[in-house]
């Protein structure tokens, strides 16, 4: 009876794998719900931040912040947010693909590129690719805190302040729904014109700044960029969990199909073996 034992071990090993993928699916599902909550609860801050910054654009301050001023680009920076772990389908690869597409475009414009990575997967990838990685941050866990991101953001902001980079981008996955995650590359600096909402104020007004316009704006813009990056990280975690859930569900289903097919093969092999044995016995008896 050729192969029956092998097939049996094969079935055993596949069903073990299936058990693991099923467990991972369930873990990802519950983590996804929490990640989504976190994403939701970080939204008000980002929204308010955006409102304040757009107010500030409309004001006529005596001091124009460098983050609002477009300048000729020679070198650009990009912050890439990836996951720390794999087994989440094409999530990271799709993101890297769209990041690389943007980077190629910049390359054609003779721009040099500095990369800041958040997440272990991006580090491995861009190191192998030979990019100029200036900062790395990973293992933020499922509940990232803003102070863990300050460093990564500051490296890029400092480079911008010193004129080392002239534009800054952020690449991350945007959570559309459980089935869809959209890789996006957005410009952070200079802060893009967020499309005027039409209420251009006729009269000249400005904030009272305490203590100094410059200091307050520095603090505000820094927090603005940080909040965008934080939002990106939180969103990326929700994406990771959703993608992993879907990938693991597909893996469990595939394992189920494989087991069914192998079971059929096994049964056939068993039947064939029995038939053969029987016919041997019968023919043996007939010969006697």
């Amino acid at each position: 009876m050729a192969g029956a034992k092998e097939i049996r071990t094969q079935i055993k090993s596949i069903s073990n794998t299936q058990k693991i993928t099923k467990a991972m699916e369930m873990v990802a599902a519950s983590k996804m719900r929490r990640a989504q909550d976190r994403m939701q609860s970080s939204r008000p801050y980002a929204d308010k931040m955006r409102t304040v910054v757009s107010h500030m654009r409309k004001a006529h301050p005596e001091y124009r912040h460098p983050y609002l001023i477009e300048r000729d680009a020679k070198r650009v920076g990009i912050i890439i947010i990836s996951t720390d772990r794999g087994l989440c389908g094409g999530l990271n690869i799709n993101l890297f693909k769209s990041a690389i597409a943007s980077m190629k475009e910049w390359h054609e414009q003779q721009l040099e590129i500095d990369i800041a990575v958040i997440g272990a997967k991006a580090m491995g990838f861009f190191k192998r690719l030979g990019g100029n990685v200036v900062s790395q941050n990973s293992h933020l866990g499922d509940t990232p805190r803003i102070e863990e991101l300050i460093g990564s953001v500051k490296v890029m902001l400092d480079a911008y302040d010193e004129g080392k980079i002239d534009r800054l981008y952020l690449a991350n996955n945007v959570f559309v729904n459980t089935m869809t995650q959209q890789p996006t590359v957005d410009q952070l600096l200079p802060v893009p014109d967020g499309g005027d909402d039409g209420e251009e104020l006729a009269y000249h007004w400005d904030y009272i700044y305490e203590p100094e316009a410059r200091e307050v704006m520095d603090a505000l813009m820094m927090r603005y960029i940080e909040s965008l990056v934080y939002q990106g990280v939180v969103e990326n975690i929700a994406c990771e969990m959703a993608a992993r859930m879907v990938a693991m569900k597909a893996a469990s289903d595939n394992a189920g199909n494989l087991i069914d097919e192998l079971q059929l093969v096994y049964n056939k092999a068993r039947q064939a073996a029995i038939t053969q044995e029987l016919s041997e016995i019968v023919s043996g008896a007939a010969a006697v």
């Binding site: 008000p44 580090m123 900062s135 803003i146 102070e147 300050i150 904030y207 305490e210 603090a219």
Partner: protein
């Protein structure tokens, strides 16, 4: 009807308070400020301290902030509270840390190992797949 002002207190990780108030007091960097409705536009940094919101029914609510930004528009007050402790040298240290990590990772040869291991695993997976395919073909016959 008494005039009120809309107050939003948010931090990066959660929304803390949103509602109408008669008056808001906040620890601005140049000293505590009290904001009544129709206050002129103001933008200032906050010190660690207490934000006091005087609600419509004379009732008061307190929130601790460890710093942040206060924005005042005539009818809206927004407190963007920090959750992290901020100081210039703390930020600097964080920036250095991630830079070092990048340099170390670029120098490290360990991830080349990982690459090799990944290749080995891939080869094994391919072998398994082809086995499965063979079994299927045999079954088809």
């Amino acid at each position: 009807m008494a005039m009120t002002i809309h107050v939003d207190i948010v931090s990066a990780e959660a929304e803390i308070f949103s509602g109408q108030a008669n008056m808001v007091f906040a620890p601005a960097e140049m000293g505590e400020v009290g904001i009544a409705p129709r206050h002129t536009a103001l933008l200032t940094r906050l010190k660690p301290g207490e934000v006091r919101v005087q609600m419509e029914g004379q009732e008061e609510q307190f929130f601790y902030v460890s710093g942040g930004i206060l924005e005042v528009q005539p009818h809206v007050v927004t407190v963007l509270a920090d959750t992290a402790l901020r100081a210039k040298d703390l930020d600097e240290a964080a920036a250095l840390r991630v830079k070092e990590r990048a340099e170390k990772a670029m120098r490290d040869k360990t991830s080349d190992f990982d690459y090799a291991r990944a290749q080995a695993e891939l080869a094994e997976a391919v072998a398994q797949l082809s086995t499965i395919k063979k079994i299927r073909e045999r079954a088809g016959r």
